[in-house]
Symmetry: C2
Subunit: 214 residues, 2 copies
């Protein structure tokens, strides 16, 4: 029998786990799995290094927890959005989803950093990530593109690499923000820069005859 109320103890544990996941996300995103140390993660979270194996057994499972958290945010955002857009025209819906995707990339640069770190080499982690999180996201986008095409929009490329072209174009300024800032002297996260980026992406992927505007 614990002396303190179990509720409170559990609460503390949950908070530590959350702090660790959040810290891990940023460390893994910046340095990659091998480059990030559980010490640095624990320090960033403000807890002892041994809290990592205590709460997550291994570094690997902490990494998976960070990935689950990340894609949870993404799903949350887009599921609500899709529900809210029910009944809206396909083209308008697609434009708004792409806009949302850019805004999400700007708000969560860790997402693409995290994936860039894993996608450059084969590993068990990449296979896990693809099966559990990336493929469902990919299928969702593919469905959108099929709807667009069925609606009469011209296919501007194979869904396969259009997916990666869109991701690359939309997220690179945010994923590589430190480089972007050093090279251009601009802050990619500034509101006017984000707005301009949204417009650029939309004009590239949804070209329209002059004058028309949705």
């Amino acid at each position: 029998m614990p002396e303190r109320p179990p509720r409170r103890l559990q609460q503390r544990s949950v908070e530590t786990r959350e702090k660790l996941v959040e810290a891990a996300l940023h460390e893994f995103a910046e340095k990659g799995f091998g480059g990030a140390s559980t010490r640095a993660i624990a320090t960033r979270a403000g807890v002892a290094q041994s809290a990592v194996p205590y709460h997550f057994e291994t570094k690997d499972s902490l990494w998976k927890a960070a990935a689950d958290h990340l894609f949870g945010l993404l799903r949350e955002r887009f599921q609500a959005r899709v529900v809210g857009l029910d009944g809206v025209g396909v083209r308008t819906k697609s434009r708004l989803l792409v806009r949302d995707f850019v805004l999400f990339a700007a708000a969560h640069p860790e997402l693409h950093r995290f994936m860039l770190q894993e996608g450059t080499g084969r590993s068990e982690r990449l296979e896990w990530l693809v099966e559990k999180h990336i493929r469902p996201t990919f299928e969702f986008l593919r469905g959108q593109m099929d709807e667009l095409e069925a609606d009469g929009a011209p296919a501007i490329g194979r869904p396969d690499h259009l997916h990666y072209v869109l991701i690359g174009a939309a997220s690179t300024p945010y994923a590589l923000a430190p480089e972007f800032e050093l090279v251009t002297g601009e802050d990619p996260f500034a509101k006017e820069m984000v707005d301009a980026h949204v417009e650029l992406i939309l004009s590239l992927f949804f070209p329209e005859p002059r004058g028309e505007r949705q």
Copy 2:
């Protein structure tokens, strides 16, 4: 006085250095600076781990040698290309340069992997990379865009993030090839996929009235 001809000895040293740089390039590109170990690099190059500090003093300077090698390839390719295109119309030249850039990204996926690994977080290495290699590349592209605009082409975005949008769109399928293959089941490096990608990028960044083709 060495017993063997100095020429031959030096030759061996040069070869070992080259093997190490090549191996380092791939290891750093896949795992990042912190994730790559000098042991793995040496093993990949087929030499002893101690050959790294012998030839390059530190891991850091091996990393810089790899970066110099990488951007040397890029410069070599584009300087020759620009000379060969002297006198060609601005728009045609720009299209050909973009096409070349995509082909280079497909032929050397390590280039963007290497930069993705460093561009996601602030570090002395990133500052060095920006000043020595990235900024000159950036200025070159910016010059091309200025020429295009002076020629009457509509500006499709600020050069600042258009640069990153182009890089992201052109290179992501190759930089993330392992992920691309797992998700789509396709080989992004296959000739027909590369050709399709070139066409996709050109159609996005050089939209033209139907019927016209350069």
